[in-house]
């Protein structure tokens, strides 16, 4: 029973905030909605028993990416943006594409409608560490290379023209 309450309240929060992200006219409001949506997703990970993923979601997404996006919105925003339409003319076609794709995606979901969890969730942090430093060593190193490249790219692109 408790599991149902947690799942339905978290998924309602996530979906309502996600609709807010794509429909809000004020970009600051949609950035704040994004933060709330990511926090709700962290709760969903916790309800799935993925403890380390929950911690990573809170640390990277909620306190990193959401804050970064809010900073950028506040740097770039102008008061005149509030009077402009934020949605382009093709929203009908986009809605049609989403309706067609939803058919296939929900069919996949229906296929697993009888699948229940067989065992209780257990802490996974130790196994993740072993996997990263053992079998998945090369992806782990590649991802650190990607982070290094992103760091250098961000510094390079955000410098002013004069200092280049």
């Amino acid at each position: 029973m408790l599991e149902h309450i947690v799942f339905y309240s978290l998924s309602t929060l996530v979906l309502v905030c996600a609709i807010g992200v794509v429909t809000m006219r004020n970009t600051v409001h949609s950035a704040l909605c994004l933060g709330l949506c990511l926090a709700g997703l962290a709760g969903l990970f916790a309800s799935l028993g993925a403890d380390f993923l929950f911690a990573a979601q809170v640390m990277v997404y909620v306190s990193g990416i959401a804050v970064l996006i809010i900073f950028t919105v506040m740097l770039l925003g102008r008061a005149s943006d509030l009077h402009l339409r934020q949605v382009n003319d093709q929203w009908m076609a986009a809605l049609l594409i989403c309706a067609v794709s939803s058919e296939g995606l929900l069919k996949i979901a229906r296929f697993f409608s009888g699948t229940l969890a067989t065992t209780a969730a257990k802490p996974a942090t130790r196994d993740i560490g072993r996997l990263f430093l053992g079998e998945w060593m090369i992806p782990f190193e590649l991802v650190s290379l990607v982070l290094m490249a992103a760091l250098l790219g961000a510094i390079f692109f955000s410098r002013s023209e004069a200092s280049r």
């Binding site: 990511l38 993925a50 990607v146 992103a150």
Partner: protein, 101 residues
Amino acid sequence: MTLAHYLTVAALLFLIGLFGVLTRRNVIGILMSIELMFNAANVNLAAFDRFLHPEGVAGTTLALLIITVAAAEVVVGLALLMAIHRNLGTAYVEDFNLLKG
């Protein structure tokens, strides 16, 4: 809770993100919608890991890699957006037409 519940939530989140990518005029809005789609994929991976493969952690680990790549993507995207905004003075995608000729 069955696996279908989690897959449905992830599918709806992905479709909302897809709708946002296709319709938002602001580049920051498009970046935020892409984040929603990444997160839908992560929910799927975590759910499959929990329900179909409970003795391993490969799904969770792959989701962690996705989180890392998403962070790198958003950092570079926002830096590019700042550079474009400095040059063109706008954040709306239909004004980014320098290559149109």
